[in-house]
Symmetry: C2
Subunit: 179 residues, 2 copies
DNA sequence: GCTAATCCATACGCAACCGTATGGAGGCCG
DNA sequence: CGGCCTCCATACGGTTGCGTATGGATTAGC
Protein backbone atom coordinates (compact mmCIF):
# COMPACT_ATOMS: atom_id res chain seq x y z
CA UNK A 1 0.00 0.00 0.00
CA UNK A 2 2.06 2.92 1.32
CA UNK A 3 5.57 1.73 1.87
CA UNK A 4 7.25 4.41 -0.18
CA UNK A 5 9.83 5.78 2.27
CA UNK A 6 10.31 2.61 4.32
CA UNK A 7 8.02 3.70 7.15
CA UNK A 8 9.63 2.97 10.48
CA UNK A 9 7.01 2.06 13.02
CA UNK A 10 6.60 3.15 16.61
CA UNK A 11 4.94 1.23 19.43
CA UNK A 12 1.92 3.51 19.10
CA UNK A 13 1.59 2.60 15.43
CA UNK A 14 1.23 -1.01 16.48
CA UNK A 15 -1.30 -0.08 19.14
CA UNK A 16 -3.40 1.97 16.72
CA UNK A 17 -3.33 -0.90 14.24
CA UNK A 18 -4.54 -3.11 17.09
CA UNK A 19 -7.52 -0.86 17.76
CA UNK A 20 -8.41 -0.88 14.07
CA UNK A 21 -8.11 -4.66 13.84
CA UNK A 22 -10.10 -5.10 17.03
CA UNK A 23 -12.91 -2.89 15.80
CA UNK A 24 -13.03 -4.32 12.29
CA UNK A 25 -12.50 -8.02 12.87
CA UNK A 26 -12.97 -8.65 16.57
CA UNK A 27 -10.59 -9.82 19.29
CA UNK A 28 -9.36 -12.78 17.24
CA UNK A 29 -7.55 -10.30 14.99
CA UNK A 30 -5.18 -9.30 17.80
CA UNK A 31 -2.29 -11.50 16.69
CA UNK A 32 1.29 -10.48 16.03
CA UNK A 33 1.64 -11.89 12.54
CA UNK A 34 -1.76 -10.75 11.31
CA UNK A 35 -1.10 -7.22 12.54
CA UNK A 36 2.31 -7.31 10.86
CA UNK A 37 0.65 -8.17 7.57
CA UNK A 38 -1.73 -5.25 7.99
CA UNK A 39 1.17 -2.90 8.60
CA UNK A 40 3.20 -4.29 5.73
CA UNK A 41 6.00 -5.46 7.97
CA UNK A 42 6.99 -8.57 9.90
CA UNK A 43 6.67 -9.65 13.48
CA UNK A 44 10.34 -8.84 14.01
CA UNK A 45 9.18 -5.27 14.54
CA UNK A 46 6.42 -6.40 16.89
CA UNK A 47 8.74 -8.31 19.19
CA UNK A 48 11.17 -5.43 19.24
CA UNK A 49 8.54 -2.98 20.48
CA UNK A 50 6.76 -5.41 22.82
CA UNK A 51 7.95 -8.22 25.02
CA UNK A 52 5.23 -10.61 23.97
CA UNK A 53 1.54 -10.72 23.12
CA UNK A 54 0.22 -10.29 26.69
CA UNK A 55 2.46 -7.25 27.06
CA UNK A 56 1.01 -5.80 23.87
CA UNK A 57 -2.59 -6.50 24.86
CA UNK A 58 -2.06 -5.00 28.30
CA UNK A 59 -0.69 -1.83 26.75
CA UNK A 60 -3.67 -1.73 24.43
CA UNK A 61 -6.18 -1.50 27.26
CA UNK A 62 -3.85 0.74 29.29
CA UNK A 63 -3.90 3.14 26.37
CA UNK A 64 -7.64 2.87 25.84
CA UNK A 65 -8.91 3.20 29.38
CA UNK A 66 -7.78 6.73 30.34
CA UNK A 67 -8.26 8.12 26.86
CA UNK A 68 -11.78 6.81 26.37
CA UNK A 69 -12.80 8.39 29.63
CA UNK A 70 -11.08 11.77 29.25
CA UNK A 71 -12.49 12.08 25.74
CA UNK A 72 -15.96 11.98 27.23
CA UNK A 73 -15.28 14.72 29.73
CA UNK A 74 -13.45 16.83 27.15
CA UNK A 75 -16.51 16.72 24.92
CA UNK A 76 -18.64 18.43 27.56
CA UNK A 77 -19.25 22.15 27.16
CA UNK A 78 -18.70 23.68 30.64
CA UNK A 79 -20.82 26.71 29.77
CA UNK A 80 -23.95 24.63 29.47
CA UNK A 81 -26.18 23.91 32.45
CA UNK A 82 -26.13 20.34 33.79
CA UNK A 83 -29.21 19.37 31.83
CA UNK A 84 -27.62 20.66 28.64
CA UNK A 85 -24.38 18.80 29.32
CA UNK A 86 -26.32 15.63 30.07
CA UNK A 87 -28.21 15.78 26.80
CA UNK A 88 -25.09 16.70 24.86
CA UNK A 89 -23.24 13.74 26.31
CA UNK A 90 -26.01 11.23 25.74
CA UNK A 91 -26.77 12.35 22.22
CA UNK A 92 -23.08 12.24 21.40
CA UNK A 93 -22.79 8.69 22.68
CA UNK A 94 -25.93 7.66 20.80
CA UNK A 95 -24.96 9.30 17.54
CA UNK A 96 -21.26 8.83 17.18
CA UNK A 97 -20.00 5.46 16.01
CA UNK A 98 -17.32 5.99 18.58
CA UNK A 99 -15.67 8.85 20.41
CA UNK A 100 -12.11 8.27 19.32
CA UNK A 101 -9.95 6.11 17.08
CA UNK A 102 -11.45 7.36 13.88
CA UNK A 103 -15.11 6.64 14.10
CA UNK A 104 -14.79 2.88 14.30
CA UNK A 105 -17.02 0.83 16.55
CA UNK A 106 -14.44 0.03 19.16
CA UNK A 107 -16.49 -0.48 22.27
CA UNK A 108 -18.63 -3.41 21.12
CA UNK A 109 -15.44 -5.17 20.08
CA UNK A 110 -13.98 -4.38 23.46
CA UNK A 111 -16.97 -5.95 25.19
CA UNK A 112 -16.53 -8.96 22.96
CA UNK A 113 -12.90 -9.15 23.94
CA UNK A 114 -13.83 -8.94 27.61
CA UNK A 115 -15.68 -12.26 27.34
CA UNK A 116 -12.40 -14.14 27.04
CA UNK A 117 -10.02 -11.75 28.82
CA UNK A 118 -10.75 -11.15 32.51
CA UNK A 119 -8.47 -8.12 32.79
CA UNK A 120 -10.28 -6.49 29.88
CA UNK A 121 -13.55 -7.24 31.63
CA UNK A 122 -12.25 -5.49 34.74
CA UNK A 123 -11.14 -2.43 32.78
CA UNK A 124 -14.55 -2.26 31.13
CA UNK A 125 -16.31 -2.59 34.45
CA UNK A 126 -14.24 0.27 35.87
CA UNK A 127 -15.05 2.37 32.82
CA UNK A 128 -18.76 1.60 33.11
CA UNK A 129 -18.82 2.62 36.77
CA UNK A 130 -16.93 5.85 36.21
CA UNK A 131 -19.17 6.85 33.33
CA UNK A 132 -22.29 6.06 35.32
CA UNK A 133 -20.92 8.25 38.12
CA UNK A 134 -20.59 11.11 35.66
CA UNK A 135 -24.13 10.53 34.47
CA UNK A 136 -25.35 10.37 38.06
CA UNK A 137 -23.80 13.75 38.86
CA UNK A 138 -25.31 15.29 35.76
CA UNK A 139 -28.72 13.80 36.53
CA UNK A 140 -28.65 15.10 40.09
CA UNK A 141 -27.59 18.52 38.84
CA UNK A 142 -30.45 18.42 36.38
CA UNK A 143 -33.01 17.66 39.05
CA UNK A 144 -33.59 14.12 37.84
CA UNK A 145 -34.39 12.16 40.96
CA UNK A 146 -35.04 8.66 39.68
CA UNK A 147 -31.98 6.65 40.76
CA UNK A 148 -32.38 4.37 37.75
CA UNK A 149 -32.01 7.24 35.28
CA UNK A 150 -28.19 7.20 34.92
CA UNK A 151 -28.15 3.46 34.39
CA UNK A 152 -30.96 3.72 31.87
CA UNK A 153 -29.10 6.34 29.88
CA UNK A 154 -25.91 4.34 29.92
CA UNK A 155 -27.53 1.01 29.10
CA UNK A 156 -29.38 2.62 26.22
CA UNK A 157 -26.14 4.06 24.85
CA UNK A 158 -24.47 0.66 25.08
CA UNK A 159 -27.41 -0.99 23.33
CA UNK A 160 -27.47 1.58 20.55
CA UNK A 161 -23.78 1.03 19.96
CA UNK A 162 -24.17 -2.74 19.95
CA UNK A 163 -27.01 -2.53 17.46
CA UNK A 164 -25.24 0.10 15.36
CA UNK A 165 -28.62 1.79 15.16
CA UNK A 166 -28.84 4.62 12.65
CA UNK A 167 -31.72 6.15 14.59
CA UNK A 168 -29.71 6.17 17.80
CA UNK A 169 -30.11 9.89 18.29
CA UNK A 170 -33.90 9.71 18.02
CA UNK A 171 -33.99 6.77 20.41
CA UNK A 172 -31.88 8.56 22.98
CA UNK A 173 -33.99 11.70 22.64
CA UNK A 174 -37.05 9.63 23.46
CA UNK A 175 -35.58 8.52 26.77
CA UNK A 176 -34.32 12.01 27.63
CA UNK A 177 -37.78 13.42 27.00
CA UNK A 178 -39.25 11.20 29.71
CA UNK A 179 -36.80 12.27 32.41
CA UNK B 1 -17.36 -36.22 35.86
CA UNK B 2 -20.31 -38.40 34.86
CA UNK B 3 -19.06 -41.09 32.53
CA UNK B 4 -20.55 -44.00 34.40
CA UNK B 5 -22.51 -45.72 31.63
CA UNK B 6 -20.32 -44.53 28.73
CA UNK B 7 -22.62 -41.72 27.65
CA UNK B 8 -23.05 -41.80 23.90
CA UNK B 9 -23.42 -38.31 22.56
CA UNK B 10 -25.87 -36.93 20.04
CA UNK B 11 -25.39 -34.01 17.70
CA UNK B 12 -27.58 -31.92 19.98
CA UNK B 13 -25.34 -32.70 22.94
CA UNK B 14 -22.47 -31.14 21.01
CA UNK B 15 -24.59 -28.13 20.09
CA UNK B 16 -25.69 -27.56 23.69
CA UNK B 17 -22.10 -27.80 24.83
CA UNK B 18 -21.31 -25.22 22.18
CA UNK B 19 -23.89 -22.81 23.57
CA UNK B 20 -22.48 -23.26 27.05
CA UNK B 21 -18.92 -22.72 25.90
CA UNK B 22 -19.94 -19.71 23.85
CA UNK B 23 -21.73 -18.10 26.76
CA UNK B 24 -19.07 -18.85 29.33
CA UNK B 25 -15.86 -18.29 27.40
CA UNK B 26 -16.77 -16.42 24.25
CA UNK B 27 -16.56 -17.39 20.58
CA UNK B 28 -12.94 -18.50 20.87
CA UNK B 29 -14.16 -21.52 22.84
CA UNK B 30 -15.97 -22.93 19.82
CA UNK B 31 -13.27 -25.42 18.85
CA UNK B 32 -13.63 -29.13 18.27
CA UNK B 33 -10.94 -30.33 20.63
CA UNK B 34 -11.80 -27.95 23.46
CA UNK B 35 -15.46 -28.96 23.29
CA UNK B 36 -14.42 -32.59 23.28
CA UNK B 37 -12.47 -32.05 26.49
CA UNK B 38 -15.52 -30.40 28.05
CA UNK B 39 -17.66 -33.39 27.10
CA UNK B 40 -15.10 -35.91 28.25
CA UNK B 41 -14.68 -37.41 24.82
CA UNK B 42 -12.49 -36.90 21.76
CA UNK B 43 -12.94 -35.09 18.48
CA UNK B 44 -13.56 -38.41 16.79
CA UNK B 45 -17.13 -38.02 17.98
CA UNK B 46 -17.27 -34.44 16.77
CA UNK B 47 -16.22 -35.27 13.23
CA UNK B 48 -18.66 -38.12 13.11
CA UNK B 49 -21.63 -35.89 13.94
CA UNK B 50 -20.46 -32.90 11.90
CA UNK B 51 -18.65 -32.56 8.61
CA UNK B 52 -16.29 -29.90 9.86
CA UNK B 53 -16.18 -26.83 12.07
CA UNK B 54 -18.09 -24.49 9.70
CA UNK B 55 -20.83 -27.13 9.47
CA UNK B 56 -21.03 -27.26 13.26
CA UNK B 57 -21.08 -23.48 13.64
CA UNK B 58 -23.76 -23.13 11.00
CA UNK B 59 -25.94 -25.68 12.79
CA UNK B 60 -25.38 -23.78 16.02
CA UNK B 61 -26.92 -20.61 14.69
CA UNK B 62 -29.57 -22.55 12.75
CA UNK B 63 -30.62 -24.06 16.06
CA UNK B 64 -30.47 -20.78 17.93
CA UNK B 65 -32.30 -18.51 15.53
CA UNK B 66 -35.79 -20.02 15.42
CA UNK B 67 -35.73 -21.09 19.04
CA UNK B 68 -34.65 -17.74 20.46
CA UNK B 69 -37.49 -16.08 18.59
CA UNK B 70 -40.28 -18.53 19.35
CA UNK B 71 -39.30 -18.52 23.02
CA UNK B 72 -40.12 -14.84 23.10
CA UNK B 73 -43.56 -15.27 21.60
CA UNK B 74 -44.27 -18.29 23.78
CA UNK B 75 -43.58 -16.23 26.87
CA UNK B 76 -46.37 -13.80 26.06
CA UNK B 77 -49.67 -14.23 27.88
CA UNK B 78 -52.38 -13.94 25.19
CA UNK B 79 -54.99 -12.99 27.80
CA UNK B 80 -53.22 -9.74 28.61
CA UNK B 81 -53.94 -6.54 26.70
CA UNK B 82 -51.19 -5.29 24.34
CA UNK B 83 -49.79 -2.92 26.92
CA UNK B 84 -49.55 -5.73 29.44
CA UNK B 85 -47.87 -8.04 26.95
CA UNK B 86 -45.43 -5.28 26.04
CA UNK B 87 -44.43 -4.69 29.64
CA UNK B 88 -44.22 -8.39 30.35
CA UNK B 89 -41.95 -8.92 27.39
CA UNK B 90 -39.66 -5.99 28.15
CA UNK B 91 -39.35 -6.75 31.83
CA UNK B 92 -38.62 -10.35 31.03
CA UNK B 93 -35.85 -9.38 28.63
CA UNK B 94 -34.43 -6.92 31.14
CA UNK B 95 -34.55 -9.25 34.10
CA UNK B 96 -33.68 -12.67 32.79
CA UNK B 97 -30.05 -13.44 32.16
CA UNK B 98 -31.31 -15.14 29.06
CA UNK B 99 -34.51 -16.66 27.78
CA UNK B 100 -33.25 -20.15 27.10
CA UNK B 101 -30.24 -22.41 27.43
CA UNK B 102 -30.26 -22.40 31.18
CA UNK B 103 -30.01 -18.82 32.20
CA UNK B 104 -26.59 -18.19 30.69
CA UNK B 105 -25.77 -14.92 29.00
CA UNK B 106 -25.84 -16.21 25.46
CA UNK B 107 -26.77 -13.16 23.45
CA UNK B 108 -23.82 -10.92 24.35
CA UNK B 109 -21.52 -13.76 23.36
CA UNK B 110 -23.46 -14.14 20.14
CA UNK B 111 -22.97 -10.46 19.34
CA UNK B 112 -19.30 -10.90 20.09
CA UNK B 113 -19.19 -13.85 17.73
CA UNK B 114 -20.90 -11.80 15.04
CA UNK B 115 -17.93 -9.44 14.91
CA UNK B 116 -15.80 -12.09 13.22
CA UNK B 117 -18.49 -14.22 11.53
CA UNK B 118 -20.56 -12.44 8.86
CA UNK B 119 -23.24 -15.13 8.72
CA UNK B 120 -23.74 -14.84 12.46
CA UNK B 121 -24.02 -11.09 12.03
CA UNK B 122 -26.74 -11.64 9.44
CA UNK B 123 -28.66 -14.02 11.67
CA UNK B 124 -28.47 -11.53 14.51
CA UNK B 125 -29.63 -8.71 12.25
CA UNK B 126 -32.62 -10.79 11.15
CA UNK B 127 -33.41 -11.56 14.78
CA UNK B 128 -33.16 -7.90 15.76
CA UNK B 129 -35.54 -6.87 13.00
CA UNK B 130 -38.11 -9.53 13.80
CA UNK B 131 -38.07 -8.68 17.48
CA UNK B 132 -38.41 -4.98 16.75
CA UNK B 133 -41.38 -5.82 14.55
CA UNK B 134 -43.02 -7.60 17.47
CA UNK B 135 -42.32 -4.63 19.70
CA UNK B 136 -43.69 -2.28 17.07
CA UNK B 137 -46.97 -4.21 16.89
CA UNK B 138 -47.29 -4.22 20.65
CA UNK B 139 -46.51 -0.51 20.85
CA UNK B 140 -49.10 0.31 18.22
CA UNK B 141 -51.64 -1.86 20.00
CA UNK B 142 -50.83 -0.04 23.21
CA UNK B 143 -51.40 3.36 21.69
CA UNK B 144 -47.73 4.30 21.77
CA UNK B 145 -47.26 6.52 18.75
CA UNK B 146 -43.59 7.50 18.94
CA UNK B 147 -41.93 5.54 16.14
CA UNK B 148 -38.67 5.41 18.11
CA UNK B 149 -40.29 3.59 21.03
CA UNK B 150 -39.78 -0.01 19.82
CA UNK B 151 -36.15 0.62 19.00
CA UNK B 152 -35.63 2.30 22.35
CA UNK B 153 -37.09 -0.67 24.21
CA UNK B 154 -34.99 -3.11 22.24
CA UNK B 155 -31.76 -1.13 22.48
CA UNK B 156 -32.25 -0.77 26.21
CA UNK B 157 -32.76 -4.50 26.59
CA UNK B 158 -29.60 -5.19 24.60
CA UNK B 159 -27.64 -2.71 26.70
CA UNK B 160 -28.90 -4.17 29.96
CA UNK B 161 -27.85 -7.63 28.81
CA UNK B 162 -24.42 -6.40 27.72
CA UNK B 163 -23.85 -4.69 31.06
CA UNK B 164 -25.29 -7.60 33.02
CA UNK B 165 -27.05 -4.98 35.08
CA UNK B 166 -28.68 -6.27 38.26
CA UNK B 167 -31.06 -3.34 38.25
CA UNK B 168 -32.21 -4.13 34.72
CA UNK B 169 -35.82 -4.43 35.72
CA UNK B 170 -35.87 -1.01 37.37
CA UNK B 171 -34.15 0.53 34.40
CA UNK B 172 -36.61 -0.94 31.95
CA UNK B 173 -39.53 0.14 34.11
CA UNK B 174 -38.24 3.70 33.94
CA UNK B 175 -38.40 3.72 30.16
CA UNK B 176 -41.81 2.06 30.10
CA UNK B 177 -43.15 4.68 32.46
CA UNK B 178 -42.31 7.43 29.98
CA UNK B 179 -44.16 5.84 27.07
C1' DG C 1 -25.09 -65.24 18.41
C1' DC C 2 -23.81 -63.06 13.82
C1' DT C 3 -23.89 -59.23 11.20
C1' DA C 4 -24.21 -54.66 10.29
C1' DA C 5 -24.70 -50.10 11.62
C1' DT C 6 -23.54 -46.69 14.89
C1' DC C 7 -20.36 -44.28 17.59
C1' DC C 8 -15.80 -43.20 19.47
C1' DA C 9 -10.39 -43.47 20.23
C1' DT C 10 -5.99 -42.84 18.26
C1' DA C 11 -2.54 -41.49 15.12
C1' DC C 12 -1.09 -38.80 11.41
C1' DG C 13 -0.08 -34.79 8.13
C1' DC C 14 -0.91 -30.11 7.66
C1' DA C 15 -1.23 -25.15 8.65
C1' DA C 16 -1.10 -21.14 11.68
C1' DC C 17 0.85 -18.84 15.26
C1' DC C 18 4.17 -17.84 19.18
C1' DG C 19 8.56 -16.47 20.81
C1' DT C 20 13.65 -16.44 19.96
C1' DA C 21 17.94 -15.93 17.66
C1' DT C 22 20.66 -13.85 14.46
C1' DG C 23 22.05 -10.99 10.88
C1' DG C 24 21.42 -6.89 8.05
C1' DA C 25 19.86 -2.17 6.51
C1' DG C 26 19.74 2.48 7.70
C1' DG C 27 20.60 6.62 10.43
C1' DC C 28 23.69 9.46 13.91
C1' DC C 29 28.11 10.92 15.70
C1' DG C 30 32.99 10.90 16.21
C1' DC D 1 35.22 6.53 7.09
C1' DG D 2 34.26 3.63 11.23
C1' DG D 3 31.63 2.34 14.87
C1' DC D 4 27.28 2.25 17.23
C1' DC D 5 22.50 2.21 17.92
C1' DT D 6 17.85 1.60 16.26
C1' DC D 7 14.72 -1.01 13.85
C1' DC D 8 13.32 -4.80 10.89
C1' DA D 9 13.75 -9.43 7.97
C1' DT D 10 14.35 -14.20 8.12
C1' DA D 11 14.78 -18.70 9.86
C1' DC D 12 13.92 -21.95 13.37
C1' DG D 13 11.66 -25.01 17.09
C1' DG D 14 7.65 -25.69 19.69
C1' DT D 15 2.71 -25.70 20.39
C1' DT D 16 -2.07 -25.95 19.13
C1' DG D 17 -5.84 -26.90 16.41
C1' DC D 18 -8.00 -28.84 11.96
C1' DG D 19 -9.43 -32.60 9.22
C1' DT D 20 -8.74 -37.54 7.74
C1' DA D 21 -7.99 -42.35 8.14
C1' DT D 22 -8.47 -46.43 10.37
C1' DG D 23 -9.51 -49.68 13.75
C1' DG D 24 -11.98 -50.83 18.04
C1' DA D 25 -16.00 -50.78 20.92
C1' DT D 26 -20.94 -50.82 21.57
C1' DT D 27 -25.60 -51.45 20.09
C1' DA D 28 -29.52 -53.10 17.07
C1' DG D 29 -31.70 -56.32 13.82
C1' DC D 30 -32.61 -60.63 12.52
Amino acid sequence: MTQNPRPRLSAEDWLMAGFRALANHGPSALRAEALARDLGTTKGSFYWHFKDLPDYLAKLIMLWEPRAFSDILASLDPDLPPRGRLEQLCLLAAGCRDLSYGGIALEPALRAWALSAPDVAEALKRMDMRRIEVLTDLCIGSGITDPAAPRALYALAVGIEALDDDAGTEVMRLLLRGL
